[in-house]
């Protein structure tokens, strides 16, 4: 195995899940996701690239995955070629529980501008400053999208919560919700 191939293997091991998760949050079918996954890492392999640090390599992979997903979203060719129906919720859990599916489905129902920063931040633990760079947004804009995404996810999950809750629980959640919507900071 050449050094370059070893590097590719290393990078796939290190960032494969991150890239795969981003793709899953943006594309529907499993085969599409696998195609894009391959393209991201093959682009990495074939391109001449400069990285200031490890973070910039990760950012490159994230941004490339986003670009390719967006291109795929805009290109009906992908879908027609695969002949698959689109389903944003077809995450292949290895071992899932109902709560997992509910959470992920709620994430997938967010619009992309909320879904992506939320996934990057809360699932992949990417700092807001890095998300801002990768998405070409200000940090304030990322924070705002995260805030809105959280509100929407929470609302979504509450709506799907078991309706057998007690009145006290409902009251408590109402209070909590008000904390969220009235929270401010300078």
């Amino acid at each position: 195995m050449t050094d370059e191939e070893k590097d590719l293997e290393y990078v796939m091991d290190k960032y494969g899940r991150t890239v795969s998760g981003i793709i899953a949050s943006m594309l529907g079918s499993q085969s599409e996701r696998e195609d894009i996954f391959q393209e991201v890492f093959l682009l990495y392999y074939t391109k001449d690239l400069f990285f200031g640090d490890e973070g910039s390599r990760r950012s490159w992979l994230i941004r490339t995955a986003i670009n390719l997903c967006r291109a795929a979203n805009r290109s009906p060719w992908y879908r027609l070629r695969n002949g698959e129906e689109f389903d944003p919720n077809t995450v292949q859990y290895t071992e899932s529980e109902p709560t997992d599916e509910r959470l992920w489905q709620a994430v997938c129902r967010l619009k992309e501008k909320y879904r992506l920063p939320l996934y990057l931040h809360y699932f992949e633990e990417i700092p807001i400053s890095d998300i801002a760079k990768v998405m070409g947004l200000s940090e304030g804009a990322v924070k705002m999208r995260l805030s809105r995404a959280r509100e929407r996810i929470k609302s979504e999950l509450e709506n799907s919560r078991n309706i057998t809750e007690t009145e006290a629980e409902a009251h408590e959640r109402k209070r909590e919700r008000e904390y969220i919507i009235h929270s401010r900071r300078v």
């Binding site: 050094d3 370059e4 191939e5 590097d7 590719l8 293997e9 290393y10 796939m12 091991d13 494969g16 998760g21 899953a24 529907g28 996954f37 391959q38 393209e39 682009l43 392999y45 074939t46 001449d48 690239l49 400069f50 990285f51 200031g52 973070g55 490159w60 941004r63 670009n67 390719l68 291109a71 805009r74 009906p76 060719w77 944003p88 995450v91 859990y93 290895t94 529980e97 992309e112 931040h121 809360y122 699932f123 633990e125 700092p127 998405m135 070409g136 947004l137 200000s138 304030g140 705002m144 805030s147 959280r150 929470k154 408590e172 209070r175 909590e176 008000e178 904390y179 969220i180 900071r185």
Partner: protein, 634 residues
């Protein structure tokens, strides 16, 4: 983070782990391709844009470990996730400690906040708190009472739980002397509460600050009695820092406008209006008890809020909310003088509402055209603001300004600039379409990287002007997106290293929204409004002008100029009346055709035509007109 939440995310992430078979396929395909060169390890600071050339060609294991941060709590589930609110129980005991002069005295300033003394002036000043911040200019606080109040809050922090975790970087550092003792207080960024520090509270606090007082660190959490979470942050804040949101703003990209920056004059005007309301109007409801506030049923409906503004003035914090369905306004005010937070609802007069809107307009306008705005005393005075004026330097932090940075390493890179694809009507996917057409970003060896301006939310024309002004080229791409039609949703380009910077002349793709797709509902998947519209194969016939000669290549790009989706080369255009592209296109998809004059030295992209596809009829409609002049003069 709660164990259950951790498990949820962990389960989901497990599902994303690529299979060994998938990795094997990548390796197999890679073995048949020519690898690119990876260069790794030069240092560059984003501030001075200097690049130290320490190129190390990366080998397989010559990589640095990425910084793995602590797992962020899954606040998406947590009820109080984004709250930055504190129970207002931590009243500041103003013990009025005597502030003593520092070693070398200077005249005490009457200004509450001033630009700090020059660094080499070790004297600093007496009765002054110097505040340095991670992002932004330093400032000073000279109000002795305020410094005493802050010191009281610091003393309160020292009663909080000791932080035994790793050293946390400071985002704000306070230096002051009181009772003869010098103090250094470091306030961290707001950060998630580690599980082991999470207070037992029905309010589910999520965020904390780590405060280091003279070397000893403490943790203070939001919504936790006795912990001055917001109070310390607000009391030490820069006067004029402001966070403004407005819904349904026509100027905004998605009907939702917000900005965060420093605007002391407008903060003062708002404060004056608030004081006017508080002085001349009887509140419908008022409390200092946060629980009473949240239990109060008759608050205006947040869903109808149309504008809110938070701001800091002299260490006091104000929040004001106005609504679309009522003249009632919600105010909350934190005042370090009494250490209390006041929650109020007022029925404002039409005049007061109008005054508020006037200031909101001013805020929106001032933030829109600032890349670096300096609000000065003169500005404040000219606004006719109240007494007790203070001076402060202020700076917009909401917008990006273009700047360049040296990047010799980038400039000397040998990126692929291979020949362009010439297959007629062929599609090429990302991985096999790296052959860059002209307009390649790789010809420029200027050595400078330009910061790509923030164009989101602008119109196409505004974005184009911003990019051109910055020394960049652009192409345009349209797509359906949940932003108003005509607004820029973002940009795209093939990039190396640091996203957001590009060599001069790089083609940046301006992504322009066509609005949300409003075709027949059954044709789309509502969960994903951005794609998968009904689509089909279609041939687009594009006329060419009379009198054209030479060789031209016509491209349609997806994403950026390195992704040629469709291409056709007309080697001898003389006498050719049209060319065609065989395309797959989605309903109401809009494509821009760019031309390259292969006989021209500059290889510039010429925007030649824009077409929109109708799925039902299978026809293409020309949007605007053909740029025949541009083609003929190329």
């Amino acid at each position: 983070m709660k164990e259950k939440e951790k498990e949820n995310i962990s389960y989901i992430l497990e599902g994303f782990e690529p299979s060994s078979e998938l990795k094997r396929r990548v390796m197999e395909r890679a073995s048949k391709l020519e690898p690119g060169r990876k260069t790794f390890g030069y240092e560059r600071t984003t501030e001075n844009r200097d690049t130290q050339k320490e190129q190390i060609t990366m080998n397989a294991f010559g990589t640095k470990e990425a910084t793995i941060k602590r797992r962020f709590p899954i606040a998406v589930i947590s009820a109080a996730a984004c709250a930055a609110l504190i129970i207002g129980t931590a009243a500041v005991g103003l013990n009025r400690n005597k502030i003593e002069p520092l070693k070398e005295s200077e005249p005490s300033s009457t200004s509450a906040e001033q630009p700090p003394a020059a660094k080499n002036e070790e004297s600093i000043t007496q009765n002054v708190m110097n505040v340095t911040v991670q992002d932004g200019d330093p400032y000073t606080i000279t109000d002795e009472d305020r410094i005493a109040a802050i010191d009281a809050l610091v003393e309160q922090v020292k009663q909080c739980r000791v932080w035994e975790g790793e050293k946390v970087p400071a985002s704000r550092i306070l230096n002051y002397t009181i009772n003869g003792n010098e103090h250094t207080v470091e306030i961290s960024e707001e950060r998630p509460i580690p599980e082991e520090y999470r207070p037992e509270s029905e309010l589910h606090p999520e965020f904390c600050y780590v405060i280091t007082v003279d070397g000893a660190s403490y943790i203070i959490c939001e919504m936790t009695p006795g912990e001055p979470y917001s109070e310390l942050y607000w009391a030490t804040g820069r006067s004029g820092d402001l966070f403004f949101q407005r819904m349904n703003d026509e100027r905004s990209s998605d009907g939702y406008y917000f900005d965060e920056y420093n605007n002391e004059p407008d903060s003062r005007r708002l404060r004056d209006i608030i004081e006017d309301i508080r002085t001349n109007t009887t509140p419908l409801f008022e409390t200092e008890d946060v629980m009473a506030w949240y239990d109060y049923e008759d608050k205006p409906d947040w869903d109808n809020v149309r504008a809110t503004c938070d701001f800091n003035l002299n260490g006091c914090h104000y929040n004001i909310e106005v609504y679309s369905d009522t003249d009632r306004i919600v105010l909350d005010v934190y005042d370090w003088h009494d250490g209390k937070k006041h929650y109020m609802i007022y029925e404002a007069s039409k005049e007061q509402i109008a005054e508020l809107d006037k200031v909101f307009d001013s805020i929106a306008n001032s933030s829109a055209d600032t890349s670096s705005q300096d609000e000065t005393d003169e500005t404040a005075d000219s606004q006719g603001t109240s007494s007790g004026s203070q001076s402060t330097s202020s700076k917009s932090s909401g917008s990006q300004s273009t700047s360049s940075k040296s990047s010799d390493t980038q400039g000397t890179s040998s990126k692929s600039s291979g020949s362009q694809s010439t297959s007629s009507g062929s599609q090429s996917t990302s991985s096999d379409s790296q052959s860059s057409s002209s307009g390649s970003q790789t010809d420029n060896n200027s050595g400078d990287l330009i910061r790509i301006p923030d164009i989101e939310g602008l119109t196409e024309e505004e974005a184009a002007a911003a990019l051109t002004d910055a020394g960049l080229n652009y192409i345009v791409e349209y797509w359906h997106y949940d932003m108003p039609a005509g607004r820029v949703t973002g940009y795209n380009y093939a990039y190396d290293d640091e996203y957001g910077y590009a060599p001069a002349g790089t083609y940046i793709t301006i992504e322009v929204s066509l609005g949300e797709y409003d075709g027949p509902v059954e044709m789309i998947k509502p969960e994903h409004g951005t794609g998968y519209y009904p689509s089909r194969e279609s041939t687009l016939e594009v006329p060419l002008p009379e009198g054209l000669s030479g060789s031209f290549t016509f491209n349609v790009y997806i994403g950026n100029v390195e992704n040629v989706a469709y291409t056709e080369t007309v080697n001898n255009a003389a006498g050719v009346s049209s060319f065609s592209l065989d395309m797959w296109e989605a309903d109401r998809g809009r494509q821009v055709i760019y031309a390259i004059n292969n006989n021209s030295g500059n290889r510039k992209l010429i925007r030649y035509a824009t077409y929109e596809f109708d799925y039902m009829s299978g026809t293409w409609t020309l949007i605007g007109s053909l740029n025949t002049e541009g083609l003929l003069n190329s």
